[in-house]
Symmetry: C4
Subunit: 213 residues, 4 copies
């Protein structure tokens, strides 16, 4: 299977999961004159919406960067990607859970830990896709330096303890934990993958690299 | 109509049906301190979510493998594919039904049987797409050996009684039935279709293989 | 704008609207032993699900056939397509309305008429896309015979009174009206558009037909 | 990252956000004979559905026109686009809010202002994508005249005060504000971007324009 097919399906799941988040923003039904205060009191819903949307969006960018460096997809990689997508698609649930219990003012530590567990699952399964492709070797794009690819695995591995730390922060403060997840999302904005050398192949002819040999 | 168009539409339905499953995970509203126990008690929702997501994902892989071996799509095939997609898109309903009645602790045998009926419908309609293409013959990709394609129909036919067996298991235990469906999904991970010989055609020119002969 | 972009967006709306229909299938919460009877009593939900899914799927096929015969998309055509997609995307609402009032056993004639109105709106706006492209002329694909294209407008025009007839049937019986819409969907399975002569252009080079002249 | 990837993801969000709007149209459950009156009384839901669907659809057209004029996407642009998509994806929430409070007959001024704030956010973030690309310069397609591109920024800037004016109108009448947003959507139908000169490049080879020089 070509990576373009797996990308199209994954993009669909990313886009739908991100857009479904809005369904957790419920219209409050209040007495006359109370709408303003109620909407302001719903800030946890907006904050979790923004963090989850950005996380999904930024993970989408990185997922694309990983697939760009993969030449061929085999069945184990397909399955790893499926488990990763399952972790992405579930995000609206812990998002709503955290928002509702931040508002309720109780059990919010547990809700934040569940949210963190969901983020960690996504991070771990995402890392497993890249790790599998690098360790297998022959799945990598030829424009990727294998030595630098193996080195990049360390950076992936370092990210996961940060998630676990954030889960620990949930015990102190659910709001703090949410802020840490927002920060982690921003760190994902930096590209840690080895560069993809495209100089030796034209954009329009990625399938015929022999002309460059 | 080219298979690429039918694939794009089908991929959309697969991705949306899989991602909509999360809407069946409802945030419980409980008294302070009870969230942990309630979330744990909701295990049927998570178990059915995982099984249904993996089933849809694996069927997506196999659907792609079937379409890859089909050269041309005619109106009956379009219609068969549409009925198949209807069976895929409905999965969130039996999934929620099974989860809710596993939790309720009554009528779960019937709920599991309905879930099984939904899976069987998907299996049968999926098989009908491949069967129609093989029996028509001129719709098959020329890289597919017609003899092996006809032989593969037996493997498809063997799968359906397994689904019926699992429906029978629903009468004994709804949880057992769910486990069988999870196992059936994993069996789908193995490719039973005849190989597609691509050696004689370049990726960039799938429509003009005669230049390579 | 190329037709491929408008197709991608339209396909998305078709696939999502069809898949969202499942959200109208609600899990009933009943006393022990009553699930079977309740599920059977919910037949209007399944019947309307099937009809609406098939209608959306078949309209998708025909929409693709129309866009295939259009070479260029201008702003008015984009806008007509947008209004058409709005009529497609709204279908889950009249579908749920008809299902709920067939079950309620009252006001079902009005619900069926609203369903019919929604189908008529879809049919009329769909027809307007093809009508506009044919009457403008320079938007048509050069493989389309302009004389046969104009003649096909009559067939489109004939379809709309059938919808109005079905709305009238709603007054007699909501179930009868639903059956008529199912039949109308099947009639849409037949291709009424003029054939697209592709003999003079290669699949891989649709943008440079001058090489064939 | 190529613009085609960002377009595919953005198209998904547009299509899903537009189609999810239908979920805000709830089936009313009424006493026998009251369906007609209740459906008519729900006009705010239909009006807001139509305005929001058209706004999303027209913004989709303009988003495509902007991306067409961008040659290369860098990380800041990706991030700006992500924030813009977040503003698009949230639209079903203020749409439902405005519909519900127009029906409730109280707090509708605030609801209309929130709706306007959401539209303004979408307009401002959309403008920021084009502004960033124009000011950076090297991201623009070479078929775009830089002088005219800079001039077009003024037209973008002029649009935003109109949104703020409409928010002000919310204080007078929520219905009036909704009408103004509908009008603003129609103004977006006119293309204000500098033309994209394509004469010097073939459709099939957009990445190698040097061959034409």
């Amino acid at each position: 299977m070509s990576t373009s097919r797996i990308e199209a399906f994954s993009d669909g799941v990313f886009a739908i999961a991100a857009t479904l988040l809005v369904l957790e923003l419920k219209v409050p039904h209040v007495e006359p004159g109370e709408l303003g205060g109620t909407l302001l009191g719903n800030w946890p819903s907006y904050a979790t919406y923004v963090v989850s949307f950005l996380v999904i969006g930024i993970i989408w960018v990185n997922h694309h960067a990983v697939l760009e460096r993969i030449r061929k997809v085999d069945r184990p990689l397909l399955f790893l990607n499926l488990v990763f997508l399952m972790a992405v698609a579930v995000i609206p649930f812990p998002t709503a859970l955290l928002a509702d219990y931040l508002k309720a003012g109780h059990d919010e530590h547990l809700a934040a830990a569940v949210y963190g567990g969901s983020m960690t699952l996504m991070g771990v399964t995402f890392g497993s896709i890249w790790t599998y492709a690098v360790l297998r070797g022959d799945l990598l794009h030829q424009g990727v330096d294998p030595v630098r690819a193996r080195r990049s695995l360390w950076i992936f591995a370092v990210g996961n303890p940060l998630y676990v730390l954030a889960i620990g922060a949930s015990l102190l403060s659910a709001t703090l934990a949410l802020a840490i997840y927002a920060l982690l999302a921003f760190f994902y904005l930096f590209d840690v993958l080895p560069p993809l050398k495209r100089a030796d192949m034209e954009e329009g002819a990625p399938e015929e690299p022999e002309s460059a040999l």
